[in-house]
């Protein structure tokens, strides 16, 4: 069912959206291509285009279909798609490396042991692996500023759980299929809650209301419960960042 040769693939989304996809499953090159294509669309700033975003493997563009005929926009998109090999694209500029201190396991993140077991590791090895991983924001989605982060080492290719956890708290670091998600709101999830962070992903009124942007990289160094408790009074939740070249 995979037609690798048909990518990049142009499809409509509703009457006012077009989507350019670079794969039918998450992969590092497809994600890089999506981010680069989105950045290129932002540079083009075509008239009639109202919103641009990217998801895991696609760039999306919303436009006024009565101001810009579908055929015109499609022609432009196809020209841009064919202008280079997007799978070889570099990551966008202005990226950041964030360090978000995380309390692993215990009562704050009760599913660490279970996740470690599914991955076939000891709890200590799991913490070692997760706290030293550097992952990238592949997309923001579902809730404000909420990141999908990938990819973790192959050993973390563990499935979603059978039943939903009714609610994980804001800041929960959850894991499945080689990815992390940090919850920006309290929500139900089928992913396993392995760590707890205190950094707000979304801060109203701040100059940069969303902490993370697609393409940014993130590490989750381990802190003790005591340190975690203290971090909760910090408006940044202990998080720090530096610019990436």
């Amino acid at each position: 069912m995979t037609h690798t040769s048909s990518y990049p693939l142009l499809r409509t989304a509703g009457i006012d959206g077009m989507l350019v996809s670079f794969g039918d499953r998450l992969s590092e090159p497809a994600n890089r291509a999506a981010l680069a294509f989105r950045a290129a669309l932002e540079r083009e700033s075509w008239e009639g285009v109202e919103e641009i975003s990217s998801s895991l493997v696609s760039a999306y563009l919303r436009f006024d279909p009565l101001a810009v005929p579908h055929a015109d926009l499609e022609a432009r998109l196809r020209a841009l798609m064919g202008s280079r090999d997007w799978l070889q694209a570099e990551l966008p500029h202005g990226r950041r490396l964030h360090r978000i201190p995380t309390a692993y396991g215990g009562t704050l993140a009760p599913q660490l042991a279970e996740a470690a077991q599914v991955a076939g590791m000891t709890e200590a090895d799991a913490v070692e692996s997760l706290s030293s991983a550097r992952v990238r924001v592949t997309a923001l989605g579902f809730a404000p500023g909420q990141p999908y982060l990938g990819e973790l080492p192959e050993v973390w290719n563990i499935p979603r759980q059978q039943a939903l956890t009714p609610r994980v708290p804001q800041g929960a670091l959850v894991l499945a299929i080689r990815q992390f998600v940090i919850f920006s709101v309290t929500a139900p999830t089928g992913w396993r809650h392995v760590g707890q962070t205190a950094a707000p992903l979304f801060r109203l009124g701040a100059k940069r209301p969303f902490l993370l942007a697609p393409g940014d990289e993130v590490e989750f160094p381990q802190v003790s419960v005591e340190v975690f408790e203290r971090m909760q009074d910090d408006p940044d939740g202990g998080a720090s960042w530096e610019a990436l070249p």
């Binding site: 989304a13 509703g14 009457i15 895991l56 009565l66 579902f142 809730a143 709101v185 109203l204």
Partner: protein
């Protein structure tokens, strides 16, 4: 405006699903925040036409309204799903605008049809902005539901028209919805795509600002088991098919991305009809080509533009008025009992 009169709407009681809504917050989907805004955007346009102003923020009332008091002389418009309403005890007409003098009490009861009624005011509701809009987006944790005791700031009213009405086509009882193919429509077998058009659906009681579940009469829908679809952009109107085979039509407060495949997308012009379909209402879907959908969009926008010209005076026949003496026969005047100027 004197120093003591604040332009505000005072809330004495509010149903559980009353929120301030405007056109929503475009421009943030890249950050995981969907546009949100009024479930029935047509109702905002109708209020704007009645009040003779631009589109402004209104109170969206799901299920039941509440008890409100004018903190100053106000003009109000009642649009969207009709609800029982009265001003100082005297019934008032829905799909119309009225004077609500300072101190007057507006009582809005349960729905008579549809799902969401709207209370708009001259000058618009003007609570604090969040990321460039005032609408509450509860799924995203922005804003909150309106509660008793709230005093909602009202903008400056530059208009004066009251006692006007607008004839409104029924969009409050389900019906036919036009859809276009979505990016994942072709993942579904041809049989299901054909069946979508011949199946009668019932709007389930499970519905909220994120979306409405529609239950098919007959076979469930779904992509053959085991297929894992990469999470992809979601837009309002998308018909998402989750595990149980009953499609979920995504609406104003939908998530920005999702992994369940989408069967089709309801065109924007028909979104008010699905947003306003009450539980139990019958719905049908019909595929249209992109050209037909764009023609429908052009017609929809033309109708919105034309709307102010369709507003007409609200003439009461004395025989229809149960309590003639209780009525304010001249706009701006009242019986004086409640309105101490």
């Amino acid at each position: 405006m004197t120093g003591t009169t604040r332009r505000e709407l005072i809330v004495h009681r509010a149903g559980p699903a009353v929120t301030v809504q405007d056109g929503g917050r475009p421009g943030w989907i890249a950050y995981g925040l969907s546009r949100g805004g009024a479930m029935d955007r047509m109702a905002l346009a109708e209020a704007a036409a009645l009040l003779g102003q631009g589109e402004s923020a209104a109170l969206e009332m799901g299920g039941v309204g509440g008890r409100f008091e004018a903190g100053c002389d106000l003009r109000i418009a009642l649009t969207g799903a009709p609800m029982r309403a009265s001003i100082d005890g005297a019934p008032v007409v829905w799909h119309a605008c009225h004077a609500l003098p300072k101190g007057a009490v507006l009582e809005i009861g349960p729905l008579q049809a549809g799902a969401y009624g709207y209370l708009s005011v001259g000058g618009g509701l003007a609570p604090d902005e969040i990321l460039g809009a005032v609408s509450a987006h509860l799924t995203a944790g922005l804003g909150r539901a309106i509660e008793a005791g709230d005093r909602i700031r009202v903008g400056v009213d530059r208009g004066s028209a009251v006692a006007r009405k607008l004839a409104v086509e029924d969009r409050f009882s389900g019906g036919a919805l036009r859809v276009v193919e979505s990016l994942q429509t072709r993942l579904f077998p041809e049989e299901q795509r054909a069946r979508l058009e011949t199946t009668r659906f019932t709007r389930d009681a499970r519905a909220n600002r994120m979306g409405a579940k529609v239950v098919p009469e007959g076979e469930p829908f779904g992509v053959e088991g085991g297929l894992t679809v990469v999470s992809e952009i979601i837009t309002p109107g998308d018909i998402q098919v989750t595990g149980d085979g009953a499609p979920f039509v995504l609406l104003a407060e939908c998530q920005t991305t999702g992994g369940y495949p989408r069967l089709a997308t309801v065109i924007p012009a028909d979104l008010p009809r699905i947003a306003q379909a009450p539980a139990g209402a019958e719905l049908r879907f019909r595929f249209v080509t992109m050209d037909e959908a764009l023609a429908a969009e052009a017609a929809h926008r033309a109708a919105l533009k034309e709307m102010p010209r369709r507003v007409e005076p609200l003439v009461r026949h004395p025989g229809d008025v149960p309590d003639l003496l209780g009525y304010k026969l001249v706009s701006g005047f009242s019986n004086g009992e409640h309105h101490d100027h």
